[in-house]
């Protein structure tokens, strides 16, 4: 059970960092293309 919490935390941390960056990058790019 404890393992699952750490595994989930690691995958979510990576998704938040990379996904968050990708999200803001696409927003900035959409604005710049206009």
């Amino acid at each position: 059970m404890n393992d699952i919490r750490f595994i989930l935390a690691a995958y979510l941390a990576s998704a938040a960092v990379v996904g968050g960056y990708a999200w803001t990058l696409m927003r900035r790019l959409r604005r710049a293309r206009r």
Partner: protein, 232 residues
């Protein structure tokens, strides 16, 4: 055909706009398959148990980091040799994406460290050199925002990227050169075949995501440079 009918040269236009979408489209099913293999299909580690599954997101983060920083290093050298703004834009894209995966690698490693080593962080040579690497390249990004002249900014940041890149081989060899808590590089020959397959698929997914992000960031950098030039 008259000369005026030929397309005008657009030296500063974004190049290869298809790389981003193609890599992004390929990354989605690869990542979905990779996550299934990593979290369901691959067996639990004999000693660490399920916690070892963090490896499938931790190690690919570092592959993407190395790819992005190497892109920035090569682009920076090319900029210093040729002085073409496209190489400066590619270097910026490589550094920014590299720093994102660098942070992902440190965070996933830290979360893996707590249940296995008992600490979230320790000043072990491998961990310290990765932290220094992140600081160097965040410094690169800060430096860019301080210099207004585009040529001076590109030249100075290219030098910082080339010098900063020296840390990457130090990170790689740190586990061999010094006594570290972090393990040495594993050999696929000594790892369960299922784990190797899951790891390879996640590495391909991370590589595709990094390529897509670098391509999109490059396009943004070119658009920003064009807008900067157009300003009075």
């Amino acid at each position: 055909m008259t000369e005026s009918a030929l397309p005008l040269p657009r030296a500063s236009a974004p190049q290869s706009p298809r790389v981003g979408p193609i890599a992004a489209v390929l990354a989605i099913p690869t990542l979905a398959l990779g996550l299934y293999l990593a979290l369901v299909w691959a067996p639990a580690d004999a000693q660490m148990g399920n916690i070892q599954r963090i490896m499938y997101v931790h190690f690919p983060s570092w592959i993407a980091t190395a790819l992005a920083y190497t892109t920035a290093f090569v682009a920076s050298i090319l900029y210093l040799l040729r002085r073409r703004p496209a190489f400066d834009a590619l270097a910026l894209a490589g550094v920014e994406v590299g720093a994102v995966f660098n942070l992902s690698g440190i965070l996933t490693g830290s979360i893996w460290g707590r249940p296995t080593w008992g600490v979230w962080w320790t000043w072990d040579p491998r961990l310290t050199t990765t932290a220094i690497m992140l600081i160097i390249f965040v410094g690169y990004l800060l430096l860019r925002s301080f210099i207004e002249d585009p040529d001076a900014r590109a030249r100075t940041s290219a030098i910082v990227a080339v010098v900063g890149f020296v840390d990457l081989p130090i990170v790689y060899f740190s586990v061999r050169w010094w006594r570290t808590l972090h393990q040495m590089q594993s050999s696929p020959a000594t790892v369960d075949a299922h784990m190797v397959v899951a790891l390879r698929v996640m590495m391909i997914a991370a590589t595709l995501i990094a390529i897509a992000l670098i391509a999109y960031r490059y396009e943004l950098a070119r658009l920003e440079a064009n807008a900067e030039q157009a300003m009075p």
